[in-house]
């Protein structure tokens, strides 16, 4: 899962990025409205945390432009002005939820998880596929109730596949969603992660669809 954090205050942006990264997501940070708009328009994010008070282009405008261009990723807006006027304006511009500053990191992460889950059509915080369950609240993966230890990249790959269980996910899709933009990407590493995951998971769970990518299937 790849998240964009848009916040102009450098320290807060850093804290946010750190918190979101610790929760198991790949994170990109934008510090102004123009960059945010460009990145959101060109990169596939699974969710965006968007501050409304931004230099160069305000958050509402950025959001409207994304929605007008058909970008549907869930957007959580951050606002310092705790009034419904702005919240309604934000929601009407296309936001999915709001959070008022100052906020607790756990609350932000909970909202973010809920947004990503809802966008994937999942009702529960726990994703399941056969014997494998993934609890998005604490990043715990279990196989038949047994906890599994995964590296952060392995977790991201599995989480993305779990969110899109039953769909074919291309290798480039996986790359786009597990790495931040500034990361040195190498699509071969995806194969390495898939290989490692196959060793840790029950056989037959991750299917290779030749020439297209991977698919998570229930082996039973």
């Amino acid at each position: 899962m790849r998240i964009m954090v848009v916040e102009d205050e450098p320290m807060l942006a850093e804290h946010l990025a750190e918190g979101v990264r610790e929760a198991g997501y790949a994170v990109d940070v934008a510090h102004n409205g123009l960059d945010a708009h460009f990145m959101g328009d060109t990169e596939p994010f699974d969710a965006v945390v968007l501050d409304l008070g931004l230099p160069q282009m305000d958050g509402i405008t950025v959001l409207k432009k994304w929605r007008d261009a058909g970008r549907t990723m869930p957007v959580l807006i951050l606002t310092a002005r705790d009034n419904w006027h702005e919240k309604v304006a934000g929601i009407d511009a296309g936001a999915d939820d709001y959070l008022t500053k100052p906020f607790h990191m756990e609350e932000l992460l909970a909202r973010l998880r809920a947004l990503i889950r809802r966008a994937g059509g999942h009702a529960s915080a726990e994703l399941a596929c056969g014997p494998v369950t993934l609890d998005t609240r604490n990043n715990r993966v279990t196989v038949e109730g047994r906890a599994l230890t995964l590296t952060s990249h392995e977790y991201r790959v599995l989480a993305y596949l779990m969110h899109h269980a039953g769909e074919v996910v291309s290798r480039s899709d996986l790359v786009e969603h597990i790495y931040a933009q500034d990361f040195d990407r190498d699509s071969n590493t995806v194969e390495v992660f898939i290989g490692r995951l196959r060793k840790k998971l029950p056989p037959g769970l991750i299917e290779t669809v030749r020439g297209m990518g991977y698919r998570l299937v229930n082996p039973q």
Binding site: E9, R81, D92, P102, F103
Partner: protein, 456 residues
């Protein structure tokens, strides 16, 4: 209307002044005209008497025995008709070897009566005037002159009933006062019309002000007389400036909030997840600072808005916008948000943002606590806008409801939110002279009833 309000009324003052002048003018005119006419009639009366006296003098001769007689009878027929009101009489004055004798001759109109004339002897050529009692007790106006024919000293007297003079004066006065009365009434009526028509724009001004106050219009509309127009324009400028000041205050308050809250966020996040004394202190204090900022920001905005007249916010679009937001924000909870149809005429006499704030908090609370269903319903009751928000959650115990409206109390710390929501709603509603009441909902949960001033 009391005396004090009457005294303060422009209309009453103008009317009083005008009516006073009309009355004074008519009284003076009546008195002056009556006087002039009376003098004129009096002069005429005496001139007539003098004509008769001259005629009498001219016709007076002595007969063979040396007794006075008239060469020709006087022409006025009234002199021959008994007690017709016009008389003459000739007295002999005491002379050498002769005693005085009254009424040696008299007009036939005197019949058997004698005029009792005060003793007097005008010098030759003088004419004296007297008032005497007549043959029938009436008052007579009388003139006399002394003449001497040969050696015979005579006094010639002509008298006429003063009634002849009083009657036309009385008739004139009667008609004069009638005419003046009609004139006065006409003038008073004209003054009344003038005052009401002249001051009608003030009534219009008041109506225009009422519309501004009632929230129907943002400025005073209409064409007013040149004397009032500058006032209206000035007032409109003040209204516009007020609106601008409020808007600026709002923006500044928002900017201040933004400027304060971002550093607060940085502090709070730095302390987040660490469990030492400093981190706990920072977390507690940033939370308190945030509440203070929220609370005073909301109050400052409300205080600014209530003083701005002319604000009118239709309810329907605000509810629609908030319901849209709630559906999105609480999308994960599968709530049934039911809005009873809101007539387009329903409007709040106040600022958009304040209505949004009050309703937003109530709806958000209802959505947080509801199990499946939230209902919104609005009506006008006795010029008040009454908005009910019901939920089917577990509700709040009656004893706790009062505390919920107080500042910063949260029913359950587990549900995200500042806990200031209901307190802010209560504060805002009170500033508009409204109120929020918590009760049991027929849906089983909490019912919040928000009562606010309605705009026409």
């Amino acid at each position: 209307m009391t005396l004090a309000t009457l005294r303060g009324s422009l209309r009453f003052r103008l009317l009083l002044g005008t009516l006073f002048w009309i009355a004074a003018t008519i009284l003076v005119a009546g008195w002056g005209l009556g006087n002039m006419f009376r003098q004129h009639v009096e002069l005429q009366f005496h001139a007539e008497l003098k004509t008769h006296l001259d005629q009498l003098t001219a016709q007076l001769v002595l007969d063979d025995q040396g007794q006075p007689m008239l060469a020709m009878p006087l022409s006025d027929p009234r002199l021959n008709k008994p007690f017709a009101g016009l008389y003459w009489q000739i007295d002999r004055l005491a002379g050498p070897g002769l005693p005085a004798s009254p009424a040696v001759m008299r007009s036939r109109s005197l019949w058997d009566q004698v005029l009792h004339v005060p003793a007097d002897a005008p010098a030759s050529g003088d004419i004296h005037q007297h008032r005497i009692a007549g043959p029938q007790g009436e008052m007579l106006g009388m003139i006399e002159r002394s003449v001497r024919i040969d050696v015979l000293p005579l006094r010639l007297i002509v008298a006429a009933d003063e009634g002849l003079m009083i009657e036309p004066v009385a008739r004139f006065n009667k008609e004069l006062w009638l005419a003046l009365g009609v004139l006065g009434l006409g003038l008073a009526l004209a003054a009344l019309v003038q005052v009401f028509v002249g001051l009608a724009p003030l009534q219009k001004l008041r109506a225009a002000l009422g519309r501004v106050h009632g929230g129907e219009s943002q400025r005073m509309e209409g064409v007013f007389p040149a004397e009032i127009m500058p006032l209206v324009e000035e007032f409109n400028t003040v209204l516009a400036r007020n609106a601008e000041v409020v808007e600026r205050a709002r923006t500044q308050a928002g900017n201040l909030a933004h400027a304060l809250k971002t550093p607060l966020s940085v502090l709070a996040n730095a302390a987040d997840g660490k469990d030492d004394a400093l981190a706990r202190l920072v977390a507690a204090q940033t939370e308190m600072a945030r509440r203070q900022v929220d609370y005073h920001l909301a109050r400052a905005q409300a205080a600014a808005a209530v003083r701005l007249p002319g604000a009118r916010t239709p309810l329907g679009p605000i509810v629609d916008g908030l319901v849209r937001a709630m559906r999105r924000i609480h999308a994960g909870r599968n709530l049934d948000l039911v809005v009873q149809p809101i007539p387009a005429t329903l409007a709040f006499r106040g600022e958009v943002q304040d209505l949004q704030e009050m309703l937003g908090n109530l709806l958000d609370n209802a959505c947080k606590w509801a199990s499946h269903r939230v209902e919104i319903d609005a009506v006008i009751e006795q010029d008040r806008l009454v908005i009910r928000v019901d939920d089917d959650g577990k509700g709040i115990a009656a004893a706790q409801r009062e505390a919920m409206l107080r500042r910063g109390v949260r029913a359950d710390q587990q549900v995200p939110g500042s806990g200031l929501g209901l307190a802010i709603v209560d504060d805002l509603a009170r500033m508009y002279g409204g109120l929020v009441v918590l009760a049991d909902s027929p849906l089983g949960g909490l019912r919040a009833v928000l009562t606010l001033p309605a705009a026409q």
